[in-house]
């Protein structure tokens, strides 16, 4: 088979370059065969032996479609250029090849699973990309910025090097902010036996702290019994899941669930983040052999759906003007929350303009799957390869794009800036705070 013609602008990523210089071929061969023999089984074997090389997956991929149908971005090509070669050569490949594998698997695929849904055989290509990432991670071939977040998880059990005192400080600060709207609002720390443990991703206390204030107001208005942990275990994000370092992924997920168990809550409600839900609900529990999370995990979309549908939160004034919403892969295509998202969007927006394609067929924001965490070196190609979704946004004519996912939020901010869309990017909770009714008795008393 002829090698794929790959045209890319050179990218300097110190971690990849240094790893390339360090790796030996013996080490590479050993790790590849170890992962293939011990960590994969029926799925990989059947997928490789069933794929008839029809190329139908290409039409599903936003990387391929956004880059003028450059074949080197097609899902099947990504497997050809990684696993097919590894299997054919039985692991006898060089360091430059592994570097290219990391580039393909970490920086040019979001594991959004759209191609799996478009394969006539249902071959899960994203799963195979994760196998490639696993091999790369075991060899230390992970983009610098992504690896930094993994180090942060390992050292602090949160993604953003947030220190324990900073965490508590931030929560108390946001509790005070919330009390500006609803004086009786509380952000209860370490309340054992509460019904809900609310968990967020590292970036919330780091640079999106107002979201913590928002949820404090929402919880008070809805009258819910909730708590947040004062210890590590509050962060539900998991970049190790995406780098391929599944040992650290498991440590993070275990601590998150054990913290909920320590607090004896009935369920974990998580902020608006897609990959965090995936890690807590699926990847973490399956890797650890639990299969299902010990305490049910509820994503923000389902949580807000219940609050609005049950009338616990009433909408006072819908937000004006055309507003659209991204459909985050990990909670829509891969968790089935599409119709609930449309319900809550219609409930708070005067004019909700749906994306085309929508729901589980919607395209990825191109930031998910850890690609945005690969950092500035890889930003240009990431934004360039989101061209298709930028056009989809533009067509809606909306003034705001709602993103019930942190990865989407950051990714779409880059899209809006890169393609000069002139749109706002907001979380759903920011709209809800604007639109919801705050009952008279909860409002601040005028002096």
């Amino acid at each position: 088979m002829k090698p794929t013609i790959v045209k890319r602008e050179p990218v300097v990523d110190d971690a990849l370059d240094q790893c390339e210089a360090r790796l030996t071929e013996e080490e590479i061969e050993k790790v590849i065969n170890e992962v293939i023999d011990k960590e994969t089984g029926g799925r990989l074997w059947t997928y490789i032996n069933t794929c008839i090389h029809c190329g139908l997956c290409a039409e599903a991929c936003h990387w391929y479609l956004s880059n003028d149908r450059d074949v080197s971005f097609a899902p099947v090509t990504k497997i050809k250029d990684t696993l097919w070669v590894m299997l054919e050569k039985k692991g006898k490949v060089d360091a430059a090849f592994i570097k290219r594998c990391s580039q393909i698997a970490h920086t040019e695929c979001n594991c959004c699973r759209r191609c799996g849904m478009y394969c006539p055989f249902g071959i899960d290509i994203a799963y195979m990309i994760l196998v490639v990432r696993r091999i790369c991670a075991k060899l230390g071939m992970v983009p610098l910025y992504l690896q930094d977040t993994v180090h942060s998880h390992a050292a602090t059990m949160n993604q953003m090097w947030v220190k324990p005192d900073e965490w508590i400080d931030t929560l108390q600060w946001q509790e005070e902010e919330a009390q500006g709207y609803v004086p009786s609002a509380r952000l209860p720390l370490e309340k054992e036996g509460a019904e809900i443990m609310y968990s967020v991703i590292g970036p919330e206390p780091k640079f999106l702290a107002q979201l913590l204030g928002n949820i404090t107001v929402i919880m008070k208005v809805a009258g819910l019994d909730w708590t947040m942990p004062a210890t590590a275990g509050w962060d539900n994000s998991n970049m190790a899941m995406y780098s391929g370092d599944f040992e650290i992924m498991a440590r993070v997920e275990r601590l998150h669930h054990e913290t909920a168990q320590r607090l004896k809550v009935k369920k974990i409600v998580m902020g608006e983040c897609g990959h965090a839900f995936r890690g807590a609900e699926y990847d973490g529990p399956t890797w650890m052999g639990w299969m299902k999370p010990p305490i049910p995990v509820v994503h923000a979309i389902a949580f807000y759906y219940d609050l609005i549908k049950s009338g616990r939160i009433k909408i006072a004034k819908k937000v004006e003007g055309p507003i659209t919403s991204q459909y985050p892969c990990n909670v829509i295509r891969n968790a089935g929350l599409g119709s609930k998202l449309r319900y809550i969007m219609s409930a708070v927006c005067e004019d909700f303009v749906d994306l085309i394609p929508n729901d589980r067929h919607a395209f990825c924001c191109n930031a998910g799957g850890g690609t945005i965490n690969c950092g500035p070196p890889w930003k240009k190609i990431r934004v360039q390869s989101a061209k298709l979704q930028s056009e989809n946004f533009k067509r809606t004519g909306a003034h705001t794009i709602v993103t019930p996912c942190h990865n989407c939020h950051s990714g779409i901010e880059d899209i809006v800036a890169g393609y000069k869309l002139g749109m706002h990017v907001k979380f759903f909770s920011e709209l809800l705070i604007e639109a919801m009714e705050i009952p008279e008795h909860l409002k601040p008393k005028e002096e």
Binding site: M1, G42, R43, P120, F121, I123, M291, A335
Partner: protein
Amino acid sequence: MYEFVSGPLVWIAFIVFIGGSLYRIYNMLSISKKEKVVFPHMSLKHSVASLIHWVIPFNNQYMRKRPIFTIISFAFHICLVVAPIFLLAHVMLWDEAWNMSWWTIPEAVTDWMTIIVIIGCIFFLYRRLTDPVVKNVTDGSDYLLLAITALPFITGFIAYHQLFAYKTILILHILAGEIMLITIPFTRLSHMLFFVFTRSYFGSEQGHVKNSKDW
């Protein structure tokens, strides 16, 4: 020669095809057991739902987006499986050898079905040669598999119409059919066997585990 290809080789072909298929499926299931997620994720309901959406033409969004491919691909696969099983001449052979017979399709129809299979092969060959994505992932083995699939039908068509060298073509036809049967379990033609399993697994994972759908 005719006696050999229509006698012992038929036995060998069927034994290898059936035995090989069973072995490959057994092998797939046993290595799937090694992976702790596969069986716990399976669900009959979602497997069936997924199969229904992918074995009925135009029953999912992707097929509706690609009408030409869908029509050709379905016509090709249906004719490929149905024509040889219900061909009058084949059923007669079973009748002579084993005194077994079943319903047959009129010869004029099977003749057209054969042509459809050949057209399908030409279409797939054309895609392999021209579509950049497919071309990039095509090597000798893909052309070989296409040839293995096309040959029984091309030779069958020539033999039925007795266009030339009937006896030789007939031997070639039987041989080509036997080669196809033997290669199914051991090449990527095994998607015939594994399709149901990959589809069921993905359908189950999407439906049962992830509360979503895969069509």
